[in-house]
Structures are given as structure tokens and as C-alpha cells.
């Protein structure tokens, strides 16, 4: 019979001998594999849940060079041409933002579930009626709501300016709505050449609306 230096250990009931450093390196694979398994599971869950985004051709599109008088890439900053977009309207048509170039445009991001948006909407409706003779266009971009909700809200509040639906929030993200607070409503005042002259985060009262419209209307606001 062969003698063994630490028989009790080998018989499996005494405290196990610790691994030597070389073994430590080898066995690191085991916890790493467990960790990889957990992280892999998380990644799978996350990607499975993130697949809700629609890729239907709507969203941000390239702004034609001829429509960018700044010569700089489109951005939502004052003095820049805003990012162009193509969105679906509540009636099922399409709306391309750059098609309105040549008009002073108030681009307003809203949703009917947003209380401040509901609060400012009568002011926008009134302003549109007041200045449409000067060519003012208000483009209302609703965030991620069904068309039926948008249409009902438009009918109730008497909205007659163009509306579009940003179904996955891609356009809102590109326009960095709400700035640091990332909230609704957000308004951008764009002159007839397509350059952003001002922006406002939060509900517009009549005075603040008039002050900003004066920057883009050809005859100024009254």
C-alpha cells in the first residue's frame, strides 16, 4: 500500500488543501464564467425588451444642403438649422419639416397627457389664428400617442395647424427637447430661412410667446 502524507484530507472529510497560486489563475475561469452567464442573461433580457422601437422609415432625415443656410450640421441650438424629419400625420399622411422652409415656423413638441402642454395650447391656437396672415406655421409634434388621441385633442382645442406624431421619440431626442430637464412642452422659433432664432422649455404664456414670435415674423408680433 502506498503511504500518503495527508490521508485525512484526501479522504474528503478534513478541510481541503488550498489551491496554489497557479491553480488560482486556472480557477478564475469558473467565477468568470458564472459572471459572464449572469451578464449574458441580463443582456438578453435587455435586448429582448428593447425591441419595441419601430423602424418604419419615419424619423430624422438628412436636411438638404440647399436648405441649410448656416453651412453647419443641423442642431437644435440657436443660430443653427434644426434637424429635418419626416413624420406621420394623425390622418395617415406624412409631414416633412423642411417643406415649411420659407415660412416662419414655431415647432412645438407636446402630448395630450402633458398638463403644461394643455395649458399652453390655447395660446398657440390663438397665435396661429392671429399671425397666419404673416405666413406663420406652427408644427405640433405629438410624442408617441395614438392618432385617435391626437385627433380628438386637436378637435377639442380647435387646432388647425399641422400635426405629426413622433412614435418612438427619435425626433424629440434629436431636437433635445426640454434641454437639461428633458420635458414637455418645448418650442423652437425658426425664421423663414430655416435658422433657429429662439427656443423655450415649458408652457408658453402669451407674453413670452409674443416676444419670441417677434423674432421670426416678417412684420413682428403685435
Amino acid at each position: 500500500m502506498q503511504e500518503h502524507p495527508s490521508l485525512e484530507e484526501d479522504l474528503g472529510e478534513r478541510p481541503r488543501r488550498r489551491l496554489e497560486p497557479a491553480g488560482v489563475l486556472r480557477i478564475v475561469v469558473f467565477p468568470a464564467a458564472v459572471l459572464a452567464l449572469i451578464l449574458g442573461g441580463l443582456w438578453y433580457l435587455d435586448t429582448r425588451l428593447s425591441s419595441g422601437s419601430s423602424n418604419d422609415g419615419f424619423g430624422i432625415v438628412a436636411l438638404p444642403t440647399a436648405k441649410n443656410p448656416t453651412g453647419r450640421s443641423p442642431a437644435s441650438d440657436i443660430g443653427r438649422a434644426g434637424p429635418d424629419f419626416l413624420l406621420e400625420t394623425p390622418e395617415g399622411g406624412t409631414l416633412r419639416f423642411s417643406d415649411f422652409q420659407g415660412h416662419p415656423v414655431l415647432l412645438n413638441f407636446w402630448a395630450s397627457w402633458c398638463a403644461p402642454c394643455r395649458q399652453e395650447m390655447p395660446e398657440l391656437v390663438a397665435a396661429f389664428e392671429r399671425y397666419r396672415d404673416q405666413g406663420l406655421i406652427i408644427v405640433g409634434v405629438d410624442l408617441q400617442q395614438p392618432a385617435s388621441k391626437v385627433t380628438k385633442f386637436a378637435n377639442d382645442f380647435g387646432i388647425h395647424f399641422p400635426l405629426a406624431i413622433d412614435r418612438d421619440g427619435e425626433v424629440a431626442k434629436a431636437w433635445r427637447i426640454g434641454g437639461p430637464i428633458k420635458g414637455l412642452p418645448s418650442s423652437y422659433f425658426i425664421d423663414a430661412s430655416g435658422v433657429i432664432q429662439d427656443r423655450f422649455y415649458g408652457p408658453l404664456a402669451k407674453d413670452s410667446l409674443e416676444k419670441r414670435l417677434a423674432k421670426i415674423l416678417p412684420q413682428g408680433a403685435s
Binding site: 500500500m1 502506498q2 503511504e3 500518503h4 490521508l7 485525512e8 484526501d10 479522504l11 474528503g12 472529510e13 478534513r14 481541503r16 488550498r18 489551491l19 497560486p21 491553480g23 488560482v24 480557477i27 478564475v28 469558473f30 467565477p31 458564472v34 459572471l35 449572469i38 441580463l42 433580457l45 429582448r48 425588451l49 428593447s50 419595441g52 422601437s53 419601430s54 402630448a111 395630450s112 397627457w113 398638463a115 394643455r118 395649458q119 390655447p122 391656437v125 410624442l143 408617441q144 400617442q145 395614438p146 392618432a147 388621441k149 377639442d156 382645442f157 380647435g158 406624431i165 412614435r167 418612438d168 421619440g169 424629440a172 431626442k173 427637447i177 426640454g178 428633458k182 420635458g183 414637455l184
Partner: protein, 551 residues
């Protein structure tokens, strides 16, 4: 060149020190003592979290709200409050030291498991089958029995019957047996350790990936569950919110009909209750509350016909209002109603009430001297000296009328901004008249006047038309995503399985030497008594086997 030599001269010892440090660190993390100490530390922290009030969830993350909450704790903890706050004792599970302890325990369990895995795996798959003769003389557990001829064969047969896997070897006069039963059960400890790791991973996943949001949504309205412009935004519409109550007013059931929208499309609809949530996209939507006191208020521009205000107001405040019964000189009841306050004078709130004879009295309530006590206050505006103050349940005479203060009730109300009119703020009060119909009192939009609105009866004032569109119930919806819950369930299953295997599978390893008329059976050192129990059974079965063929 000199630099190279120097570097090399200094580098070698540093490398050795680093190696020693790693080994020391590995052994520290692999020690059971550290795991026990960390578990005790976390248990103590958990105990503190239970015993000491913790910052409520809605307050967390808002420094101002936390400061206000801390003020309420000063009454209990006095001058220690600030120090306890700095130590994180009011938010234990989110402190760096608790999370560090948790993380260290997870690492410790992983290292402990890894440190022992290969040796135990080897012990299971490649056990030492042959032991030296000396082992049979000094093993902690050993048993000697006299054996007749053919004893080795009988022992092997009995061991096999008792579910041992047996191997034998013959060395001269001696026969050696190695018997192993349920050796795989040694791996049960790893299953338990994996469970612990998964518990900790589940907690980590819940903390980093979990999501909870509470929404209060009125019937017929929609609310987003995430911050604005989240590409995975889900909108929740409450179609109907229902609350059922027993005769004592205790709630018996809350449920709501929901529709979920994503990317502008309806993706799910159904009913939810407190215990039966709706699931979508990994999120759980369940009823967490109910508010019956809501009102839909609409204001229309008379000229254009457009809505300029459309809100469902959650009446979450209560405004004190007296229930008053007034009798005339003949004893006839001339007033029996709850008085909705429209004037607020100091601490008193009330309104001008017209009597059937055309006289007007200001009727209201004011706080009494005792806590939660109210007094009815009545005065005649035309004769200001004519006034009375009555405690709840009492009566008094004024103006030839008997005024009885029945009780003080709280009327649902809200102070809100944005109602079109002259004032920035409005007080809206929801009341129910004696016949049972709801009505809304709106104070503020038109200076000096209180609007009383009955359901769907528009009241035009100037360019605006005000409409109470009816009572609206609100559903409190909790939206929760807890990917860590899956880990916890799996971990719980594994822990039970691991413990069952470790404690209830009768694993045993034996070595036997049969020589001449004597058999020595030896087992590893353990104090569970399993060896002794097994020996008794073995002896019984060996005796039976020995007697059987002879008998």
C-alpha cells in the same frame, strides 16, 4: 542600460510581493470566517434598517424633501439625527458601506466556491480507493466484526444492496473493499453556494435594472410610465377605475380597466387588481390605490367654441365644512346641509347662506381650543354684533333661528393653477347634496364669486363657459420591472435543492479490510453518527446473509 538593471533589480522582489499579496487576498476571500463576518455585518445592518425609520421612497433623491423628513425625526433622535443621517442610518440599504459589504460577500462566496471546487470535484470523480493498512488501526470511525469464510463476498453483496458502489482488491491474505454511496451529494454545497451568488446577483440586478413608478391616473386619461421621449415609452390609459366598499366604508375591491400603448399603437388591454397585475414588455402593472374624489372641469371659449381648459382634478385635500341644521321659531327645518366654504377669514372658513325669508348669514367653522375640535361660527352681516359660536353637537339661537352644529366633515378639494379666469390659483371643492347629486364649487377664476357647477350644466361667465363634466375616479397604478426576481426564484430553488442534497442524501464512503476471520470497516472522520448507524444496519444484514444460506 543602468536604468534597465536598476529596474530589473527592483522589479523581481516587487513581483514576488505582488504574488504573495494576491495569494493572501485569495485566501482571505476564500475563508469561511470572512463570509460569516460579512453575513453578520449585513444582518446587523438589516436589523438597523428595520429598527430605525428609513427615508420613504417618494422622498429619496429630493434633498429638500429629505431635510423636511429629517426634521420630523429630530423628535426621536435629537442631536444624533444629523450624525445618523451622515452615516446613512436612515437609508441603510443605499449606503456605500452596505453595498460594499454586499459586494464583498458576493466576491467572497465566489472565491470560496472556486477555491474548493476542483478538490471536491476530484474527490467525487476520482476518490482514493486504496488506503494504507495503518488507516484501519487509527481511523476515527472504525468497526471490527468477526467474519466467517467468504466474508468479503458477503460484505460486498450487502454493501451493493445498500446502494454503495463497491470495488475490491486482493493483496495476499487480505481483501480490500472501497464502498462509495451518493458521492455526488458532496456537490450539493456548490449548489447552495451558487444560490447565494444568485441571491446577491438578483439584488444587484434589481438595483441596477429594476424600475418602479407610481402613477395616479384619472378615468379617460393617459399617462406615460417613463420620462419624456424614452424610445420604449409605454402609455397607460385608465378606461375605468372601480372601488368597492362594504357598509362600514372599508374597501373590498379595487380594479381598473387599462389600455397600454407603445409607439402610438395599442399593445395590450385588460383588467388589473391589487393582486392580479397585467404584464407587458417585462413590466408589471398592478393596482396600488384608488381615489374616488376626482372631478372633470372643462372651460370653453364661448367665441371660438374651443376648449381652453380640460382637466381631471384629483381632490386629495380635505377642507373642513360644517353640517348644520337650522329650525325656525315654529320648529320647522329651514336648512339642513353641509356648508361649502367660499370665504377664508383667518382660521375660519365659511360662506354667506340665504334663508327662505331672504335674510343672509355668514356660516362657517373655526378651530376650537381643544385639538381637533371645531366650532360653528354664525353672524349676521347686517348686525355684526349678532353672532354665535357653538361646539359640535350643541345648538344656539341667533336671529330667531335655532342653529345646531351636527358635525364637521371634510370636503374633497384641491388648490390648482391654470383655471381660466382672473386669478392664478383656484380652489375647487367637490360636494354631494343631500339628495345625493355631486356638484362642484370653484373659487378663484372670477373675483369675488364662487361658481357652483352641476354635472354637465355649462355656466357662461364672460368669454368663458365652465362645465363640471362629472365625477372622475382615479386609479393608483404601480409599474414595476424587477429582472432580479427571476434570479431570486432560481436561487431559492437551488438553495432548497442544495440543502436537501447536503443534509438528506445519505452519502457515505467506507474502506474495509477482510483478513482471516476479521473484517475492519473504516470511515472518514465525521460526527453525524451516519457511520455508526450504517454499521448497525450492515451488521444486521451481514448476520442475516450469513444465516440465510445455512438456515
Amino acid at each position: 542600460m543602468a536604468t534597465s538593471v536598476e529596474s530589473s533589480a527592483r522589479g523581481w522582489p516587487r513581483s514576488a510581493r505582488t504574488s504573495d499579496l494576491l495569494v493572501w487576498l485569495w485566501r482571505l476571500l476564500a475563508s469561511a470566517q470572512l463570509a460569516v463576518a460579512l453575513t453578520g455585518f449585513l444582518a446587523l445592518a438589516g436589523f438597523l434598517a428595520v429598527m430605525i425609520p428609513q427615508v420613504p421612497v417618494p422622498v429619496r433623491g429630493n434633498p429638500f424633501a429629505v431635510d423636511v423628513w429629517l426634521e420630523t425625526q429630530r423628535a426621536h433622535f435629537g442631536p444624533f439625527t444629523e450624525a445618523m443621517h451622515r452615516l446613512g442610518l436612515f437609508d441603510v440599504v443605499h449606503t456605500w458601506w452596505f453595498l460594499a459589504g454586499l459586494g464583498l460577500l458576493a466576491v467572497s462566496v465566489c472565491v470560496y466556491t472556486a477555491d474548493r471546487f476542483l478538490s471536491i470535484w476530484g474527490n467525487v470523480t476520482k476518490p482514493r480507493e486504496v488506503v494504507p493498512d495503518s488507516f484501519f488501526d487509527r481511523a476515527a470511525n472504525r468497526f471490527t466484526v468477526a467474519t466467517a469464510e467468504g466474508g468479503a463476498g458477503r460484505l460486498e453483496a450487502v454493501l451493493r444492496r445498500r446502494r454503495f458502489q463497491v470495488r475490491h482488491a486482493i493483496d495476499g491474505e487480505s481483501t480490500y473493499l472501497f464502498a462509495d454511496r451518493f458521492a455526488w451529494a458532496q456537490l450539493g454545497t456548490f449548489v447552495s453556494h451558487l444560490a447565494l451568488v444568485l441571491f446577491l446577483a438578483g439584488g444587484l440586478v434589481s438595483k441596477t435594472q429594476g424600475y418602479t413608478n407610481g402613477l395616479l391616473i384619472a378615468e379617460g386619461t393617459t399617462s406615460p410610465i417613463f420620462a419624456v421621449s424614452n424610445p420604449h415609452q409605454i402609455l397607460v390609459e385608465v378606461v375605468d377605475a372601480v372601488g368597492k366598499f362594504d357598509n362600514a366604508g372599508a374597501p373590498t375591491d379595487y380594479h381598473s380597466q387599462l389600455i397600454l400603448y407603445q409607439n402610438g399603437k395599442e399593445v395590450k388591454r385588460g383588467s388589473i387588481t391589487v393582486n392580479k397585475p397585467m404584464f407587458y414588455g417585462g413590466y408589471r402593472f398592478h393596482q396600488a390605490g384608488y381615489l374616488s374624489e376626482g372631478a372633470a372641469l372643462r372651460v370653453r371659449d364661448v367665441t371660438s367654441g374651443n376648449l381652453i381648459y380640460d382637466e381631471a382634478l384629483a381632490m386629495q385635500d380635505l377642507i373642513p365644512a360644517p353640517a348644520v341644521v337650522v329650525h325656525d321659531a315654529q320648529g320647522a327645518v329651514v336648512l339642513d346641509d353641509v356648508i361649502v366654504p367660499t370665504d377664508f377669514v383667518g382660521q375660519a372658513s365659511g360662506t354667506l347662506v340665504s334663508m327662505p325669508d331672504g335674510r343672509e348669514f355668514w356660516v362657517g367653522v373655526a378651530p376650537g381650543v381643544a385639538k381637533n375640535a371645531w366650532r360653528l361660527v354664525v353672524y349676521d352681516p347686517k348686525h355684526e354684533t349678532a353672532q354665535l359660536s357653538v361646539a359640535q353637537g350643541d345648538s344656539a339661537q341667533l336671529g330667531g333661528l335655532k342653529w345646531t352644529f351636527s358635525e364637521t366633515t371634510g370636503l374633497p378639494s384641491i388648490t390648482t393653477e391654470g383655471v381660466p379666469g382672473d386669478n392664478a390659483q383656484s380652489l375647487v371643492v367637490l360636494s354631494t347634496s343631500r339628495p345625493g347629486g355631486d356638484y362642484l364649487t370653484v373659487l378663484g377664476p372670477v373675483d369675488g364669486r364662487a361658481l357652483t357647477l352641476y354635472p354637465n350644466q355649462p355656466v357662461p361667465i364672460g368669454d368663458e363657459e365652465y362645465t363640471f363634466a362629472g365625477r372622475r375616479e382615479f386609479a393608483g397604478i404601480e409599474v414595476r420591472r424587477d429582472p432580479g426576481a427571476k434570479f431570486i426564484w432560481v436561487a431559492a430553488g437551488l438553495l432548497i435543492a442544495g440543502l436537501m442534497v447536503s443534509f438528506y442524501v445519505p452519502r457515505l464512503r467506507l474502506w474495509a479490510r477482510v483478513r482471516g476471520g476479521e473484517t475492519v470497516i473504516a470511515g472518514p472522520a465525521e460526527r453525524s453518527g451516519a457511520f455508526q448507524t450504517e454499521m448497525k444496519r450492515l451488521t444486521r444484514e451481514l448476520d442475516a446473509a450469513q444465516e440465510g444460506p445455512d438456515g
